[in-house]
């Protein structure tokens, strides 16, 4: 996806991006749902690259190539309110001379000009929320340890404190409650990370933040793995 787009020189890619950006604006004006609109633009982008590839026949496409290809497409406004099922969609394809001005038409329209800016993947950011329970757990660890040692009289120093040993259910309750909170956070972060990776890979370059998504997905499994290895080594 992104690396494929890199194959086009910037002065060629800008024409494609301007066209697709104008299509996006027309879709927004028509109230096309964003996921549907993105799929339509993906189809269009794939078509443009196919046409460019056929036209360039092995050489690097030039700006004239992309202009010729865009001239064969409908104007971006065809994807707007008068698009699907409308007059523009049903009308026969415009003759080449009229369509040859497709790029200037896209730029002249009151639409945003410039390459579409990829968005940062929100799911990857949401995954960071999973760290909060872990941090909270670490912060609470001290009072919990105090509670265990001095109130329930569990753990080191309990015998010295001289109190009676707590009931087993109290210790289990404390352990389960203390363990569930960070576990939920870890699961949340890992799931969000995996979901974000899938989203980014399917977004055809429109989403960024793969590094954060990968971090979310692997950080806790790696921590657990390290703890297990250290534990096995320590016990062995």
């Amino acid at each position: 996806m992104t690396d494929a787009r890199m194959d086009l020189p910037p002065d060629v890619r800008i024409h494609v991006d301007v066209y697709l950006d104008a299509v996006r604006a027309a879709q927004m004006a028509a109230g096309v749902p964003s996921d549907e609109a993105a799929g339509i633009r993906d189809d269009l982008r794939a078509q443009i690259y196919d046409m460019l590839s056929a036209r360039a026949a092995g050489r690097t496409p030039a700006p004239e190539d992309v202009q010729a290809v865009l001239a064969q497409l409908e104007p971006p406004e065809a994807f707007g309110p008068s698009g699907e099922g409308g007059a523009a969609a049903a009308a026969p394809r415009a003759p080449a001379p009229a369509a040859a001005a497709s790029l200037p038409a896209a730029q002249a329209a009151p639409l945003p000009v410039g390459p579409p800016k990829p968005k940062f993947c929100r799911t990857a950011l949401l995954g960071l929320l999973g760290f909060l329970p872990m941090m909270g757990f670490c912060v609470l660890l001290v009072p919990l340890a105090y509670f265990g040692c001095h109130v329930l009289r569990v753990g080191p120093g309990a015998d010295m404190a001289g109190g009676p040993l707590p009931h087993i259910s109290q210790m289990s309750w404390l352990a389960v409650c203390a363990g569930l909170i960070p576990l939920a956070g870890m699961l949340w972060t890992t799931i969000c990370g995996i979901a974000a990776i899938v989203q980014i890979r399917r977004a055809a370059g429109q989403l960024t933040g793969l590094w954060l998504a990968v971090f979310d997905a692997v950080v806790f499994p790696i921590i657990v793995l390290v703890i297990l290895v250290v534990g096995v080594l320590a016990c062995g």
Partner: protein, 110 residues
Amino acid sequence: MAGWVSQVRKGLVELCVLAALRGGEAYGYEILRRLAEADPLAITESTVYPLLARLANEGLLAVRVAASPEGPPRRYYRLTAEGRRRLAEMRSYWKELDAAVSALVFGDRP
């Protein structure tokens, strides 16, 4: 005349898109090229791609995204079981309609 042609095309394009996928999956531009062979329909990108998206949303088409040697990933569409059912119904109706309209218009009623 242009308005009538436009209305007829609008009614037929869904059937044509589903029929274009009868032989197997295809990506958007491939479908467009298949449909372009039916010249009088004059089907364009702004008709086909939104329609593909709508049919996928309705569960008549399944979408698979796959890498392309030409550039960005392609969205491959194929008929779902529901899509095949819809196509069979539409084909059956089209046969009846075609026969009835041809008989009326061209007077070839037996």
